[in-house]
Symmetry: C2
Subunit: 200 residues, 2 copies
Amino acid sequence: MAKFPASLQQMVEQFNRLPGIGTKTSERFVFWLLKQPKEIMTEFMQGFSQLRDTVQVCSRCYNFSESAVCGICSDPRRDQALVCVAAEAPEVWAIEQTGEYSGLYHVLGGVVNQIEGVGPSELRIEELVRRASDGVVKEVILATNPDVEGETTAMIITQALSSVPIHITRIARGLPMGGDVEYADSVTLSNALKGRTNIK
Amino acid sequence: MAKFPASLQQMVEQFNRLPGIGTKTSERFVFWLLKQPKEIMTEFMQGFSQLRDTVQVCSRCYNFSESAVCGICSDPRRDQALVCVAAEAPEVWAIEQTGEYSGLYHVLGGVVNQIEGVGPSELRIEELVRRASDGVVKEVILATNPDVEGETTAMIITQALSSVPIHITRIARGLPMGGDVEYADSVTLSNALKGRTNIK
């Protein structure tokens, strides 16, 4: 019973580390790569090298950036009085894709999670308090997920900002587009009722 | 509406090329990578580099190998009289994993497929005929898939080998382990009946 060549096997193991990718899928990736022109692998290597060497964390908002201060923070057209607090960078890009937000961001670096041992001190809450106290910021929008960890984190941030004279808001909770009143869970439905808006 | 940093975006596009991987999954991979120590990316690069530079095709059986002749072909304990014909390299490794086969292989490089424009001349059939005519080979096992393309390819190979004085066999078709006679399709069931084996 022969084994994969070592260099093939090690690449299977590399892909196997990616989130949600098992051995069978890793093997499929490697066999696919071996059927492509060799340039594809070179391009992957260049991609990794570029990602590793140019992506850093913005010193103001902690979002991923290619410069010390990111494109959003350094854009004078963005509303400097508005700071949206996100758990991680992917949330920032999701909000950017709505095209509806023109303020700044603050990436926490996670949410409070007792099981995983992430406490408030692991998050960039002090940095947020400092930013929010600069006299320019007027509103902080808490955009953590509406789940136990996200709500806890939002509560902790609210407490931390209690003495800072700014508005604190929370993204709306309610039914998602395409949702179904009949099948919505009661917490969602209850939130949708509490958060009802005026039509007329 | 800000965009991903360029080096992040290009890596999303790289992952997006992998079979079965869409943009959302690619983004997840990239954000996951950015949360890992930088060494992970270096290890990926080394993996790609090793795969690109050391994996070649065995000059005898056309399986992937790290030397001019692969480990299976150069193993004197393998039965040189037996050649198993597989469409692609992954099939070779699947058969190796059974631990039941001790002969050699011959990788065709695909199967005949009219829609994709793959004709018999694109496959390594001539090379197989040459190998099978060496006087050492006694049996060629056709292990292409039991589907239209695999059966057609098996038929074409049988014709190509018609004048070579060797046995040609085909892997058994029947019900897979855990299969269900009641729900099996009639072609499978018909094959299972035709291929029945003696018990007593």
